[in-house]
């Protein structure tokens, strides 16, 4: 579905991504892990068109999308969330969701002015959908709250909620789990799985919570220092010496903390 | 008795705020000096009191100027307007208020040549001459003094541009050479660029068609500082004590022209003004005084404060025949008119109104000698 070829990105001397090639299979839930500063978010940003790569190419369904703008990629079915929440702070939670669907006639001035009934019709459909999402995320009580006033975790939920407003081909989730309560995270994991199985969404997600990765992802790609370190099933990755050293930490420490 | 009668109101509609605010302050006082003189005399139309009602024409904001004029005319009910200061505002008021309401307006300082031609239904006059005339005078002076080439800079508004056009046309017709023309904006922080250009073009003198406490002064300052020019030709907007006070004898040899005659009116006005907190010979102060005086004398002559009536008396009181009237002699004039006599108002500017109701423009040629304006001759 997505093929990344030899992507590199350089920020005035800092080599954030350094020749990454990888591909994400249709229908998979691919995990992307790696130490802080490995270049995961940067890679996401490049794929999502936020900035162009210094070199390399990106293909979506065999179409070269390397230099497309973010909004063009959205309409090609590529959706992403932000690691640091990017809510529309003066819009209510409900409106934050209702903004998302593409091709709303009401976003065209000529429709708003001269074809109002159609605008209303579509609007009502989106409204229903937004309510469903709100229900799902258990944020019904704050649906009229301004998004700027949400708690850290609630903003993260909203990020996820946006992706559920449309039917994307592929969703990139950048640490949706950070700051989200673990019980709720389990629910989210279940629904990601369901969206994947029932609706055929493809996911690629960055996460530092290994339990979350383990319960969802296959395959898992590990990045470090701007390069792909290894790739494989979660078990393979977990037992990879390099990964343990650079990312997971020694098992000894881990055991001391996690109750048996 | 007389005091029970309705007051006569004169609108003092000048650019109190904005780019001419400093010029206007003494002008308004000059205009009000004449009003007070008439009022104190107790002779106007059987002893009616005269008051001035101020309005701010802002010089450049046509909309605000119109609003102020509207208020003066329709709300305060003034019987005549002394104003406005700048040609742009004057035109707006003329079109939108004066003609609409039929009220006499005399501008002391709007000098744009375009105002000569404008349709005014006979309600508009000015005590300042059109700049077209001054252009010719300057060309003559340069020609007589054997100055063959000059650089020209003007303040970028209708006054400056109109005057510059007039000077250039007249001078070139006499065979002079204008080496470069550069506009300057008033109120700018720096004029080095303009001076650089003018200096590069060269020329025996620099003609500065600007304002003495505005860009014109900045231009002179920059010329002197860089040594670009040391002789200037200074039209009316530049003639004033403030300039010589500031630059002293550095300007020696420079030539000035401003409306004026050898009639003693100007100095009489200067004397009247001294001690009143302003200078009677600052630019357009005599014109402002005369504008007020004309309005009131015409009313007296017509025996009415109705604009439609007394508008036809303005030319009559301003011009010969009749007894010559100087500043400070308004009481005498009122008396003569009341007795059915004739007057020829001379005032501070040696006023002579020509068709279509503007000052003929006799000009005074001055030269700066030893840091003082010295009169050379009259044209």
């Amino acid at each position: 579905m997505i093929r990344v070829e030899n992507i590199a990105k350089n920020f005035g001397g800092i080599q954030a991504v350094d020749g990454v090639s990888l591909s994400i299979e249709k229908g998979s839930i691919t995990g992307l892990i790696g130490p802080n500063g490995a270049g995961k978010t940067t890679l996401f940003n490049i794929i999502a068109g936020v900035f162009p790569p210094s070199s390399g190419k990106i293909f979506l369904d065999d179409e070269d999308v390397t230099h497309l703008e973010p909004h063009e990629l959205f309409h090609k079915g590529l959706l992403r969330t932000f690691q640091i929440a990017h809510e529309f702070s003066t819009l209510s939670v409900l409106d934050n969701l209702m903004v998302v669907p593409g091709n709303q006639p009401g976003e065209q001035l000529r429709h708003s002015w001269f074809n109002y009934s159609r605008v209303k019709e579509i609007e009502a459909q989106n409204y229903e959908r937004a309510l469903e999402v709100i229900d799902f995320l258990e944020i019904d009580h704050i649906k009229h709250e301004l998004a700027g006033n949400l708690s850290g975790g609630q903003k993260k939920l909203l990020e996820l909620g946006r992706t559920m407003m449309v039917e994307p081909k592929i969703v990139f989730l950048d640490e949706v789990g950070a700051g989200v309560n673990r019980t709720l995270l389990n629910t989210i994991a279940t629904s990601i799985k369901r969206l994947n199985e029932e609706r055929g969404y493809t996911f690629c997600l960055i996460e530092h919570d290994m339990d979350f990765i383990a319960s969802l992802c296959d395959p898992v790609i590990v990045m470090a220092e701007g390069k792909v370190l290894t790739e494989g099933t979660i078990e393979e990755v977990k037992n990879n010496e390099e990964v343990i050293e650079a990312y997971l930490g020694t098992g000894r420490k881990h055991e001391r903390k996690v109750p048996s | 008795g007389a005091s029970a009668q309705e007051q006569v109101k004169i609108g003092m509609l000048q650019g109190f705020t904005g780019p001419t605010e400093s010029l206007v302050k003494p002008m308004a006082l000059g205009g009000e000096l004449a009003i007070k003189e008439v009022s104190d005399s107790g002779l106007l139309l059987g002893g009616r009191e005269v008051v001035s009602v101020r309005g701010d024409s802002t010089c450049i904001d046509a909309a605000a100027a119109t609003a102020a004029a509207d208020r003066l005319v329709t709300s305060d009910g003034v019987h005549g307007i002394n104003g406005a200061t700048c040609s742009g505002a004057t035109t707006a008021i003329l079109n939108n208020v004066v003609r609409a309401n039929g009220i006499v307006m005399i501008s002391p300082s709007a000098t744009s040549p375009a105002l000569s031609e404008i349709e005014d239904d006979g309600y508009f006059f000015r005590t300042a001459p059109s700049d077209a005339r001054q252009g010719q005078i300057i060309a003559e002076i340069l020609d007589r003094r054997g100055i063959k080439s000059a650089a020209l800079t003007y303040t970028n508004n209708d006054y400056g541009k109109g005057l510059a056009d007039a000077i250039q046309a007249a001078y070139e017709a006499k065979g002079g050479k204008i080496t470069a023309v550069a506009a300057h904006e008033d109120g700018k922080a720096d004029y080095s660029a303009e001076i650089g250009t003018l200096a590069s073009a060269g020329g025996e003198v620099l003609i500065v068609a600007g304002y003495l406490d505005q860009g014109g002064k900045g231009i002179i300052q920059a010329s002197l500082d860089t040594g670009a020019f040391d002789k200037f030709v200074l039209p009316d907007g530049m003639v004033g004590e403030a300039l010589t006070d500031n630059f002293g004898d550095m300007l020696d040899g420079s030539i000035g022209t401003n409306p004026g005659t050898d009639s003693p009116g100007a100095s009489m006005l200067a004397e009247l003004a001294s001690g009143k907190g302003f200078k009677g010979d600052d630019p357009y102060v005599p014109e402002a005084y005369d504008a007020s005086a004309l309005l009131l004398l015409a009313m007296q002559s017509a025996g009415s404060t109705d604009s439609a009536v007394y508008k036809d008396h303005i030319l009559k009181v301003a011009n010969a025949p009749g007894e010559k009237i100087y500043p400070g002699e308004l009481a005498k004039a009122l008396q003569i008119l009341a007795d059915g006599g004739d007057i020829d108002y001379v005032g501070g500017t040696a006023l002579e109104l020509i068709e279509p109701g503007e000052s003929a423009g006799s000009f005074r040629e001055t030269e700066i000698k030893g840091g003082k304006w010295e009169t050379e001759m009259y044209h």
């Binding site: - | 400093s22 470069a180 506009a183 922080a189 720096d190 650089g196 250009t197 860089t226």
Partner: protein, 336 residues
């Protein structure tokens, strides 16, 4: 010889005036950039603050002149300047206390601050005109020229002279000192760092134990002092006229942004670019080329890239071009 004449000409009509003008703009821009950078709004009242400080300086100068105090060959105004500075500072602090603090507490949008500062601008403008009137005031005394055009012509043995005014030199020197000091202050001192931290994130600054009101106060004190100095030096070089301070804001803002918001060095750079571009691009090279060309040859036209009519347009075109290539200004500034 001819080449020297051409150079002297160029120095006299381009380099010297542009440098002095640049330095004047720079002093103004420093104050604007400081407020812009730290309190995060475009302070439209800065021009009037300059005007106010200068007005007080003038009043004190007159008083001193009446008393017969003088520090010839330097202008008396320099002696009066400290009082002008104090007055400007008091005005700034009073305005902050009565006006801006409220919006800080409200965490208003920067644009609200900017609009409120327009209100303050009107207010101070009114006060100034009522106190000293709208007219032109010149208050310079002391020696005017360090070297005059005629003297230098003689001294150099050239046809063209170079004139340098005392006020120009003072302005340049003062600007240099102030910039160096400000740079040091912001980068190295505790207060300076606190100011930068505050400008970055107010809440976080609280968490570091920084007292926001103190930061704001220091910021106003410096900005107001700069304003009074800038206004006075400008007035010494040209004259003092209340109306001008609204006009001068435009190039000052241009310089601030061109250099990079919140960057003292950038403000200086921006100011000089604005000044030099205004003077150079519209300079008529006719005489210059006449000197350089063969004897008896002179170009027909003025050899001018652009008529002086459009001089300020030049600096704006440069500004837009720079911003398109480097959207944060020459020295990387804040994006607000």
């Amino acid at each position: 010889m001819e080449i020297l004449n051409a150079l002297a000409l160029f120095t006299n009509f381009v380099v010297v005036p542009a440098t002095a003008y640049g330095a004047q703009l720079a002093l103004g821009a420093l104050g604007v950039t400081l407020i812009f950078g730290i309190l995060r709004f475009a302070n439209f009242a800065h021009g009037e603050l300059m005007s106010f400080g200068t007005m007080i300086t003038i009043l004190v100068t007159w008083f001193l002149q009446n008393m017969g105090v003088s520090i010839a060959p330097f202008p008396t105004a320099l002696l009066a300047l400290p009082i002008g500075i104090l007055a400007a500072i008091s005005m700034a602090l009073v305005m902050d206390r009565m006006v801006f603090r409220f919006y800080r507490k409200q965490r208003s949008n920067p644009i609200v601050f900017a609009i409120v500062s327009v209100g303050v601008m009107f207010l101070i403008a009114g006060i100034i005109r009522i106190v000293i009137g709208p007219a032109d005031q010149s208050f310079a005394d002391g020696e005017r020229f360090i070297i005059g055009a005629i003297d230098s012509r003689r001294a150099l043995g050239l046809d063209e002279g170079i004139a340098i005014k005392q006020s120009q030199l003072i302005t340049v020197v003062v600007t240099a000192i102030v910039v160096a000091w400000l740079f040091w202050f912001l980068q190295k001192t505790r207060s300076g760092k606190a100011m930068r931290a505050y400008s970055d994130d107010e809440d976080l600054a609280l968490l570091s134990g920084i007292n926001p009101e103190r930061v704001v106060m220091i910021c106003w004190i410096i900005a107001a002092a700069l304003a009074a100095i800038a206004g006075t030096l400008y007035g010494l070089d040209k004259t003092y006229k209340p109306f001008i301070f609204l006009q001068i804001l435009l190039p000052i803002f241009a310089a601030t942004i061109l250099g990079g918001i919140g960057q003292p060095v950038g403000a200086i750079l921006g100011a000089f670019i604005v000044a030099f571009s205004e003077v150079t691009v519209t300079y008529a090279f006719k005489k210059f080329l006449t000197y350089l060309g063969p004897t008896d040859w002179a170009p027909d036209g003025l050899v001018q890239l652009l008529s002086t009519d459009y001089k300020f347009a030049v600096s704006f075109i440069i500004l837009v071009a720079v911003l398109l290539i480097r959207p944060t200004g020459i020295i990387r500034g804040k994006v607000i």
